[in-house]
């Protein structure tokens, strides 16, 4: 047996490893440099750790962690991903430098390298990205002021996408700041507050909104700011001149209003939104920039309604 192994080894051509090639390959795809070095098991683990480190963290963020921790944990996931990537580059380069002379293994062919490269980069990683963005966490930018004072123009926010589905951690509730597909153009997303759930009667009289006969306005604050509350959740809006209305929300639909009541294109304009089109719940501001520059005070601002005990 040993003779067989020895003869197979001696038949493999001798070659030199190039540390630069190992480093470049690792930079192009984590674990690829290790594959070049002939360390198959190490290559698989480096790629798995790199590609999967973000998914569990995103899932934990979306499902379990309170909104204030969202920004920090997602920042950690970026640092971990980048750390594994850089470590993989250094590790591959050092191994190739220490073990320059080697025998070229039979599977180390350009065809296999190309196959692994395209399979991992063009199929596996995009699938993971797509899964996280569609089902866990997605970032949005708000260009309009229709959700003032809660969301300001130029805010970059994280939305929980593990929301409004049979197995999702959280369901649609009154007062949620929701992201939904705009009914008049399905390529656009809108962000508004959920006011009416299926079967509710939503009405507005002299600017005071009520749900099932219960007035939302509780306290008037300076500058047209009004504090609204429904059941045990409260939020603030900007009052304004609005037409009176009264609607009953259809089954499978929700009624949405912008917090900037006088300047918002919402269910009063485009009608009720199918519940199935509600795709996410805004949770935290992670960046904010307007014509006055970066708004540092907005970073980390939680967008979920305040809970009233």
């Amino acid at each position: 047996m040993n003779d067989l192994i020895e003869s197979a080894e001696t038949r493999a051509p001798v070659t030199r490893r190039n540390p630069l090639i190992a480093a470049i390959m690792s930079a192009a795809l984590p674990g690829f440099g290790q594959l070049y070095n002939g360390q198959v098991n190490r290559a698989i683990w480096v790629f798995l750790i790199f590609s999967l480190v973000t998914v569990p963290l995103a899932m934990v963020v979306a499902a379990y962690l309170p909104a204030p921790l969202m920004l920090g944990v997602l920042a950690v996931s970026v640092l971990l991903g980048a750390g594994v990537w850089l470590w993989g580059i250094i590790d591959a380069m050092q191994f190739a430098r220490r073990n320059r002379v080697c025998r070229k293994l039979p599977w180390q062919t350009s065809g296999l390298y190309t196959l692994v490269f395209f399979l991992c980069l063009m199929v596996v990683l995009p699938l993971i990205v797509s899964y996280v963005r569609e089902h866990q966490v997605q970032a949005f930018r708000t260009p309009s002021g229709s959700m003032l004072p809660t969301v300001q123009p130029g805010d970059f926010i994280f939305a929980n996408k593990n929301y409004n589905c049979p197995n999702c951690w959280s369901s649609v509730k009154h007062g949620d700041v929701a992201i939904f597909v705009y009914p008049d153009n399905r390529n656009w997303h809108y962000i508004k507050r959920i006011i009416g759930m299926p079967g509710d009667t939503v009405a507005s009289q002299d600017g005071v909104v009520s749900v099932n006969g219960e007035q939302l306005s509780k306290t008037s604050l300076p500058g047209e700011i009004i504090e609204e509350q429904y059941q045990n959740r409260k939020w603030t809006v900007i009052g304004g001149e609005t037409e009176d209305f009264s609607v009953t929300v259809k089954p499978g639909h929700v009624y949405v209003l912008g917090d900037n009541r006088g300047k918002s294109n919402d269910s009063r304009e485009f009608g009720q939104v199918p519940l199935a089109d509600v795709v996410g719940r805004a949770r935290q501001v992670w960046f904010s920039k307007n014509q006055d520059g970066i708004q540092w005070s907005r970073l980390g601002r939680v967008l979920s309604p305040e809970r009233v005990e």
């Binding site: 470049i24 795809l29 984590p30 990537w85 963005r133 997605q138 930018r141 939305a159 705009y182 962000i191």
Partner: protein
């Protein structure tokens, strides 16, 4: 000391549990010989005309690495890419 003890003592001090004096040197010599063999083989191939990495392989590596680095960065920051929500 009875016979059994004598036999045990003989086993413990005997060649069966003691490495030969030149064991370490022998192993190191084998390793060095293998290294030399590899180096000689490599030198023989280089003398016979081992081609450097051809230009098209460097080009494929450069283009591939640019695509790869872009995809890796896109992956790391995927959660942070924004979509407009008006």
């Amino acid at each position: 000391m009875n016979d059994l003890d004598k036999n045990t003592e003989a086993l413990l001090t005997g060649a069966m549990v003691t490495a030969p004096d030149d064991f370490r040197d022998a192993v190191m010599q084998r390793v060095a010989a293998h290294e030399r063999e590899l180096q000689q083989e490599l030198m023989a191939i280089e003398k016979a005309g081992l081609q450097p990495v051809p230009w098209w392989q460097w080009m494929a590596l450069t283009v591939g690495s640019l695509i790869g680095v872009g995809q890796v960065l896109r992956f790391i920051f995927s959660v942070w890419f924004v979509t407009a929500a008006g």
